[in-house]
Every structure is written in structure tokens, then in C-alpha cells.
């Protein structure tokens, strides 16, 4: 069968139309749709681990909150031990009363310095000098033991005991103590 010129033209036209349709379909319709679907799928896949992480974080936090009362008990106990107000208002009185209870009548306490501890935010350390002009060695030792047992936030960093020339039974003691207080 021999094709005429008109028929050849029509075949070419048909072919071109076919190509145009295929191109338009894939490039303008199916292509963007598939691309969008792929992108959405990627987003879904990316969100999966993030959701899992978020859930894990929330669960971990809940667990920590449940454990918090146990973990922070010492901190709450310490906070309860520290009176409100300026330490200079309550600490010297506390020391005087303490030593009076230990039968050491004269005790004077002065603040000598303070420092911030970076390991313990919310607290600072205050250094005090406690002067005990008349003490006997054994009752003094007992008082020191009682002080160390009753005041866990306090540490004696230095001490000096001098015998008195006037009264051989009595000594003069000076304690340098560090106390932890709220900031």
C-alpha cells in the first residue's frame, strides 16, 4: 500500500500530537504530582524519628519528675535548714546560743568573707570568725564535736587554741568556720 502525501502529513501530525500529549502528561501533570508525593513521603519519614525523640524526651522527663523527690531530698532538707533573712542577722546569734548551751558563755562571731560556689548555684559560702576567749580544752572539744554534728552546713576550716598565762586552766580559742547559705 502506497501512502499519499496527505496521509504522510497526517501520520506526522498524529505522531507529533502523540508526543505532545505524552510530554505534557509526564512533565506537567504526573511529574509534579509524583515529585510532591515523594517530598511529602520524605517529610513523613523525617518526622517519624523526631516524633519518637519527642515522645522519648517526654517519657524521660516524666520519669525524672517521678524520681525528683528522691533525688532532690537532700537539697530540700538543706534549704529547710537555712533560716530566711540575712545570715549576719541570724548566724552570730545561733553560734552564741549554741556555745551557751555547751556551757561556753562568751562567744563572739564576725563575718570575715564570702564566696560563690560555681558548683552550687543558688548558694554561697560565708566565712566567719568565732572567738571564744575562755574555754577549757575538754568541754571545748565536746562543743566542737556537737557543732560538727548539729550543723551539717558548717565546716571548721581553721582553729587556734592558745593557753592563757593568767589562768592555766583556761584557753583562748578562735575558730574560722565556713557556712553554706542561700544566695
Amino acid at each position: 500500500m502506497k501512502l499519499g502525501k496527505e496521509e504522510i502529513q497526517k501520520i506526522v501530525l498524529g505522531g507529533l500530537l502523540m508526543l505532545g500529549v505524552i510530554y505534557s502528561y509526564f512533565d506537567l501533570l504526573l511529574g509534579p504530582l509524583t515529585k510532591r508525593a515523594e517530598q511529602t513521603q520524605v517529610s513523613i519519614n523525617a518526622l517519624g524519628p523526631e516524633i519518637a525523640n519527642a515522645k522519648a524526651q517526654i517519657a524521660k522527663s516524666h520519669q525524672m519528675e517521678a524520681d525528683a523527690p528522691k533525688d532532690t531530698l537532700p537539697m530540700r532538707q538543706v534549704e529547710a535548714m537555712i533560716p530566711e533573712g540575712a545570715p549576719v542577722a541570724w548566724f552570730p546569734t545561733r553560734m552564741t546560743e549554741f556555745f551557751k548551751k555547751q556551757n561556753i558563755d562568751k562567744a563572739s562571731t564576725r563575718m570575715t568573707g564570702e564566696s560563690v560556689d560555681k558548683d552550687m548555684p543558688g548558694f554561697r559560702r560565708i566565712a566567719w570568725g568565732v572567738d571564744l576567749p575562755k574555754v577549757e580544752f575538754v568541754p571545748f572539744g565536746q562543743a566542737v564535736a556537737a557543732l560538727e554534728n548539729e550543723e551539717p552546713l558548717l565546716e571548721i576550716s581553721a582553729m587556734q587554741i592558745d593557753s592563757s598565762r593568767d589562768d592555766v586552766e583556761m584557753q583562748h580559742a578562735f575558730l574560722t568556720v565556713n557556712n553554706l547559705v542561700k544566695q
Binding site: E7, K10, I11, L13, G14, G15, L17, M18, V21, I22, Y25, L30, L33, A37, T40, Q41, S43, I44, L47, G48, I51, N53, A54, K55, Q57, I58, K60, S61, M64, E65, A68, D71, T72, L73, P74, M75, V78, D119, M120, P121, G122, F123, F137, F140, G141, V144, A145, E148, P152, L153, E155, I156, S157, A158, M159, Q160, I161, D162, S163, L180
Partner: protein
């Protein structure tokens, strides 16, 4: 043989030509292809809709969880800080240096021939803590230097089981110019100054070393 004349041959030829018109065939083909394409596109649209719906759900879930997770992270940091500070407080309380037992040990080491005139002490450092003591006094006896030496060794012996690296050394030891009455007899004296050093606690562990990338 009968002669057949086809008087419609032109009409038939035109019909045949019309039947195999390439343009018409192309149009049919394209229509069929379009139908297939449309079906497939519709299928893809449904799939896309399902994916979008799934994404919407996931995104909604994430949007709900994200602020909660951020709040949880912040809370965790706060709790960690609090727990760390709490542990630090316990460590500090438990790591204190207790002077009372030291005074008790010292008082037991001092014999009746010795009078302590000055006792000073200081604790320094973190972790492994160093305590420096200064013991000044007066020793009396027929051989007061011997009495002072006995005191020095007695202090070291008494403190060694309870503290680390105890050293007890004379800073000064001199014959005294005066005599004292001991058990009703006048005896010579010697003045001394003993320096005692001891350690308590544990050395601080070094932090994790940095790894070069």
C-alpha cells in the same frame, strides 16, 4: 465467466481511505492513551491524597508533641541541675573535715609531762584535703628533749591509722631557761614546736579528656 462491474469503486475507495485515515487512527490512539493516562493520574491523585492525609496526621502529632518535648527538655535540665546541686551538697557535707576526733586523738597523745601552749590547725584543698597542725608547748622532765620527741612520735602513731600520709616534724626544739615543779621536784624544760601534716579524702578524678577530631 460473468463480468462484474463495480460502479461504486470510487465510493468504496473513498470509504476505505476514510477508514484508514491516519489522523483519525492517531486521534483514537491518543484518546485511548489519554484514558489510560487519566486513570493512572487519578490513581496517583488518590495515592497523593492518602500521603497528604498521613502527612497531616503526622504533622499534627508532631506539632502537639514539639512544645511538650521542649518543655520536657527544659524541665529535665532544671531537674538535672537540681539533682547535681543536691549531690554536691551531700558530697560537701560528707567530705567535711571533723576536728573533734583529731582533738581527741591529740589529747590522748599528750603525756602529763607536756603542756601545750598553742595549737593551731588549718584545712585546705578539695578532694584530697591537707590539714596542717602546729603544736607548740613545753616539755618537762629529766630529759625534756626525750619527752618532746616521744610526743612527736606519739602524735604520728596516733594519727596514722585514721589519716593519710601523716608527718610529724620538729620546727623548733630548744632547752628551756626555767625549771618547773613536777611531782614535787624541780625538772628541766624544753620548748618545742611540732608541725603535723595529714591528708583526708580522695584525690579529685580528672575530667574526661578531649578527643581531637
Amino acid at each position: 465467466m460473468a463480468l462484474r462491474l463495480n460502479l461504486y469503486h470510487e465510493v468504496l475507495k473513498a470509504k476505505a481511505l476514510k477508514r484508514r485515515d491516519p489522523l483519525k487512527i492517531s486521534v483514537y490512539g491518543i484518546s485511548g492513551l489519554l484514558a489510560c493516562f487519566a486513570f493512572y493520574y487519578f490513581f496517583q491523585l488518590v495515592r497523593m491524597h492518602s500521603i497528604s492525609e498521613q502527612y497531616g496526621k503526622v504533622k499534627w502529632e508532631f506539632d502537639q508533641l514539639e512544645p511538650q518535648a521542649k518543655a520536657a527538655k527544659k524541665k529535665e535540665e532544671e531537674l538535672n541541675q537540681l539533682a547535681s546541686a543536691s549531690a554536691q551538697v551531700v558530697k560537701r557535707i560528707e567530705g567535711r573535715f571533723y576536728w573533734a576526733p583529731l582533738l581527741a586523738e591529740l589529747s590522748q597523745a599528750v603525756p602529763r609531762e607536756v603542756q601545750i601552749t598553742r595549737l593551731g590547725g588549718e584545712i585546705t584543698g578539695d578532694g584530697l584535703r591537707r590539714c596542717a597542725l602546729q603544736v607548740d608547748g613545753l616539755a618537762a622532765g629529766t630529759d625534756p628533749r626525750r619527752v618532746a620527741e616521744d610526743l612527736r612520735t606519739a602524735i604520728a602513731d596516733k594519727l596514722s591509722p585514721k589519716y593519710k600520709n601523716v608527718t610529724s616534724t620538729f620546727k623548733t626544739l630548744e632547752d628551756g631557761s626555767e625549771t618547773v615543779m613536777l611531782d614535787g621536784k624541780p625538772v628541766n624544760t624544753a620548748t618545742f614546736a611540732i608541725t603535723v601534716q595529714l591528708y583526708v579524702g580522695e584525690e579529685k578524678k580528672a575530667g574526661p579528656s578531649r578527643v581531637k577530631k
